[in-house]
Amino acid sequence: MLESSYYTVFVFALWVIGIYCLATKRNIIRLILGIEILINAADISFISLAAGMEGFVDPLGHSIVIVSIGLAGTVSAVAITLIVYAYRQYGTLDVRELRHLRG
C-alpha cells in the first residue's frame, strides 16, 4: 500500500475535478457525472483512511462507503428523472438553454 498522503492527493484531485466539471460543463449529463465524481472522491477517502493501520482494516469505514454508494445511486436517479422530463418537454440537454427558456 502506498503512503496515505498519495491517496489524499488523489482524493483532492478528484474533488477539484468534480467541482470544475460542475462549474464549466454545459451538458446536463456531464453535470450528473461531476456529482458522481465528487461523491466517489469522498468514498475513496473513507476507504483509504480505513486502512490506515498497518495490517488491519477498519470495518466502520467500509460500512459507511457501502451505504454511501447506495445513496449516490438514488440521488443520480432523481437527477436523471428531472433530465428525462426536461428533455421530453424542451428537447434540449444544454443547461444554459434551459435557463434562457425561462425568460
Partner: protein, 496 residues
C-alpha cells in the same frame, strides 16, 4: 438477538410507517373519489407523531435518551436530547400546518398521494437528522430530507422555470452534501469515529491540526449550501419562488434551519479546539449574509422571491447568534429558528393564499388585495411585522436576545449591525404591507374572495402563536435554554 418491535423511537417510527403506507392510502382515497382523505391521513400521522413526541419530551426532561441495541463509539444509535426534541417540535408543527393547508391548495393537482408521501418523508428526514447520534446517521437522514425536496420543488412541472430551479437546487445541494461528506471522512481519518461523543472526546483537548481546519471548512461549505450562506445561496430565490407555496413554507421555515442545527452540533463536539477561529469565519459570513439578504429584495417585484431573500437575511441573524458562541447567543439562535419557522411559514402560506385567489405573484398586480381578503391580510401583516422585529411580537424577543449576547461578549459592532439590518429590512416588508392596503387597482383584485377556511385554519393558528409567543415568551425561553444546555453538554464533559 432480540427483535425490537420498534426500530427507532416511536415518533420516528410512526412517521416512517406513514410515509410508506401513504401511497396505498392515497390510491384507496382516489378510488373512492375522496381526494381530501390523502391529506387527512397525513395530518393524522403527523398528529400521532406529535403526541409521541410529547411523551419523548417528558422522558428527555429526566436525561438524554439513547435508543439502540448496542452503544459504543462505533455503533449507530439515536441520541435524543432536549435540542433534538426542540427541533423535532418545530418540524412536526410546521409539517402539520403545511399538510392541512395542502388539502385545499393542491386539490387540483395530479399525483397527490406521492406529494403527501414526500411531505411525510421530508418531516421524517428532519426528525431523523435532529435525533441522530453520529454524523453518518445524520448524513443518511439529511439525504432523505433533501431528496424529497428536490422533486417537490418541480412539482408543478408545467412551467420551465420549475424544472430549471429544481435542477439548480439539486446540483448545488448534492455538491454540498458530497463536500460535507469529504469533510466527515477527514474527521473519521483523524479520530476513528463519527460519533458526537467520540468526536468531542478525541478533539476536545487536542492540538489544532491543519487537517482539522480543512475538515471544518469543508463541513461549513457543505452544509452551508443548504443553509444558504451567502456565496452559496444562489439556488434559494429560484427554488423557493417556483415551489408550490406549502412546500416553500416548509423549505424556508424548517429545512434551512436544520443546516444550522448540524453546524452548531459539529461546532460544539468536533471543532471544540478550533472554536474561536471557526466561529470568526462564521461571523464574517453571517454579516455578509445579512446584508445581501436585506439589500437584494429591495429590487424585487415577485412576492415569493422577496420572501425567499428575507429567509437568507434571517439565516444571517441565526448565524450571528451561533458565531457569538456563548450560551445566550445560542439561545437567541434557536429561538430565532423557532420564531422564523412560525413567521416565514405564515408569510408563505398567506402569499400562497393570495396566489391561489389571484393567480399572480407580482407585487404590482396585487394592489389592494388586503381589502378583499381581510383575514389573510391581518395574518400576513402580523407575520411581516414580526419579521421586521416589532416589539409585541416574537421576532423582537429572539433578536433582542441575540443583540444582548453580542453586547455581552464585547462584540458591540455585531449587535449594531443586526439592529441596522433590522431597520433596513423594514423597507421592503413595509412595501408589501403598503401593497396590501392600497386602493384596489385592477379588475382581478376587485373580484377576489377570501381563501377557503381550511387554508385559513393553519394561517390563523400560526399568526396567533406569533402574537402569543411575543407577549408571553417565558415558556419558550425556558425550553430553548434547556435545549442549549443539552448542546453544551460535551463542553462540560471535556473541560470539566
Amino acid at each position: 438477538m432480540r427483535e425490537p418491535a420498534i426500530v427507532f423511537t416511536p415518533t420516528l417510527d410512526l412517521l416512517l410507517v406513514f410515509t410508506i403506507s401513504m401511497p396505498i392510502a392515497g390510491w384507496a382515497a382516489i378510488r373512492i373519489h375522496r381526494k381530501f382523505l390523502c391529506g387527512a391521513y397525513t395530518v393524522a400521522g403527523l398528529a400521532a407523531a406529535g403526541a409521541f413526541l410529547y411523551g419523548l419530551f417528558l422522558d428527555v426532561s429526566q436525561g438524554t435518551v439513547i435508543s439502540t441495541p448496542h452503544v459504543g463509539v462505533f455503533s449507530a444509535y439515536l441520541r435524543i436530547d432536549m435540542l433534538g426534541v426542540f427541533m423535532a417540535t418545530i418540524s412536526i408543527g410546521i409539517g402539520l400546518a403545511v399538510a392541512i393547508y395542502s388539502i385545499i391548495y393542491m386539490e387540483k393537482d395530479t399525483g397527490l398521494p406521492i406529494y403527501f408521501t414526500l411531505l411525510l418523508a421530508i418531516v421524517s428526514g428532519m426528525v431523523g437528522v435532529v435525533f441522530a447520534g453520529d454524523l453518518f446517521t445524520l448524513y443518511i437522514f439529511w439525504e432523505l430530507m433533501c431528496v424529497s425536496t428536490y422533486v417537490l420543488v418541480a412539482f408543478r412541472r408545467g412551467r420551465s422555470e420549475s424544472i430549471e430551479a429544481a435542477f439548480k437546487y439539486l446540483m448545488m445541494s448534492v455538491a454540498g452534501s458530497a463536500t460535507a461528506f469529504l469533510g466527515m471522512s477527514l474527521l473519521y481519518g483523524m479520530s476513528g469515529t463519527l460519533n458526537f461523543e467520540g468526536l468531542a472526546l478525541a478533539f476536545g483537548q487536542a492540538q489544532p491540526n491543519a487537517w482539522l481546519y480543512l475538515a471544518s471548512l469543508l463541513i461549513l461549505t457543505g452544509f452551508g449550501v443548504t443553509t444558504a450562506i451567502v456565496p452559496l445561496h444562489t439556488w434559494l430565490p429560484d427554488a423557493h419562488s417556483v415551489a408550490p407555496s406549502p412546500i416553500s413554507a416548509i423549505l424556508s421555515g424548517v429545512v434551512i434551519e436544520t443546516g444550522i442545527y448540524v453546524l452548531s452540533r459539529t461546532c460544539f463536539s468536533a471543532f471544540l479546539s478550533i472554536q474561536a477561529q471557526w466561529l470568526a469565519i462564521v461571523m464574517a459570513l453571517s454579516v455578509i449574509t445579512m446584508v445581501v439578504g436585506n439589500v437584494m429584495p429591495l429590487l424585487q417585484n415577485d412576492l415569493k422571491r422577496l420572501l425567499a431573500y428575507s429567509s437568507i437575511a434571517q439565516v444571517g441573524y441565526m448565524l450571528a447568534g451561533l458565531s457569538i458562541g456563548t450560551q445566550l447567543g445560542l439561545t437567541g439562535t434557536f429561538m430565532q429558528i423557532f420564531n422564523h419557522a412560525l413567521m416565514k411559514g405564515t408569510a408563505f402560506l398567506c402569499a400562497g393564499a393570495i396566489l391561489y385567489t389571484l393567480g399572480t405573484r407580482q407585487l404590482d398586480e396585487m394592489a389592494g388585495i388586503g381589502r378583499r381578503m381581510p383575514i389573510t391580510a391581518v395574518a400576513f401583516t402580523i407575520s411581516l411585522l414580526a419579521l421586521i422585529g416589532m416589539p409585541p411580537l416574537n421576532g423582537f424577543v429572539s433578536e433582542l436576545i441575540i443583540v444582548t449576547s453580542a453586547f455581552q461578549a464585547n462584540l458591540a459592532w455585531l449587535g449594531v449591525t443586526i439592529i441596522l439590518n433590522g431597520i433596513l429590512s423594514a423597507a421592503f416588508y413595509l412595501r408589501v404591507l403598503r401593497v396590501l392596503i392600497q386602493p384596489i387597482g385592477s379588475e382581478k383584485v376587485e373580484r377576489a374572495r377570501e381563501a377557503p377556511w381550511v387554508m385559513l385554519l393553519p394561517i390563523c393558528f400560526m399568526a396567533g402563536l406569533i402574537v402569543l409567543f411575543g407577549l408571553w415568551p417565558d415558556p419558550l425561553i425556558r425550553f430553548t435554554q434547556q435545549s442549549v444546555a443539552g448542546l453544551f453538554s460535551f463542553v462540560g464533559q471535556v473541560v470539566g
